[in-house]
Subunit: 143 residues, 2 copies
Amino acid sequence: MSEQDTSDRDYESVLRDAGMRITKPRKTILEILAEGEDHPDALEIFRRANARDASVSLSTVYRTMKALHDCGAIHRHAFEGGPARFEQADAPHHDHMIDVDTGEIVEFRSEKIERLQEEIARELGYHIVYHRLELYGRKRKTR
Amino acid sequence: MSEQDTSDRDYESVLRDAGMRITKPRKTILEILAEGEDHPDALEIFRRANARDASVSLSTVYRTMKALHDCGAIHRHAFEGGPARFEQADAPHHDHMIDVDTGEIVEFRSEKIERLQEEIARELGYHIVYHRLELYGRKRKTR
DNA sequence: AATGCAATTGCAAATCGTTTGCAATAACTG
DNA sequence: CAGTTATTGCAAACGATTTGCAATTGCATT
Ligand SMILES: [Mn+2]
Ligand SMILES: [Mn+2]
Ligand SMILES: [Zn+2]
Ligand SMILES: [Zn+2]
């Protein structure tokens, strides 16, 4: 009966529209994705889901993430090193800066860069389907 | 006795400076990297190396790639989907556009984007250690 | 509410790319 | 050339993810 509900509904209709069933494990996973502010990996999603419904398995997490990705409901990021991380696709597009020391992820968006990318692609005779821009950095000491 | 020789020597001194021995398998692999114009993965490097020296193993390819990467002599790219691909680090920096249909890789470089990245990092209070910019696109039909 | 069937599940085993332990071998040093 | 030590090939281990399968569930129908 709150905003949470709205998000869940959204996700559920995405699944339903794709002809998929709304099962208990999926509901739980969707709940977690809807409220998540971070970029959890499959194992972390599994942990959080499992805390609410002990029957959810890691396989189902993977399968659900794949289904949601195919539906375009989530983004899958393969940052350097670690396992794939996920986030909702409903937020406006942004890219990521990863702190190489702490692993912290900062989101940013540059209209200029987005535009330049399109321009470059056009010059090369392509149109962009999707892209990946990741900045791996370290906190600036010298201010 | 040709330009080839020069490239090989370079690689070898990189290894030597890092206190590594110049072995037959390494020589073969370095030869291949020096003349390669593309972005081969470990298995492809193994195939090419193996054609010249049947004793080279895949493990050694992986180990050599790791050593060269640690020395900063090569770049390792983990493009969407496939295995890691390698290329020499001696060429000037560039980013990649990947044709989602054919897998073809086109190199490009945008001074503007490079500059903007630095700018963004600074605004976020970071300095860039390295970055990854990959455009996944499709050949433009409409010219 | 009971029925039937296809979609979904958990589990274990398989997969892929990559790394590693180990005993045998080859590079370098003197 | 001999001694020390890095490097090798092999096979087995690895981490992340996917898959086969038989049991369970969601859901459209009565
Ligand atoms: Mn994000
Ligand atoms: Mn390149
Ligand atoms: Zn972007
Ligand atoms: Zn760049």
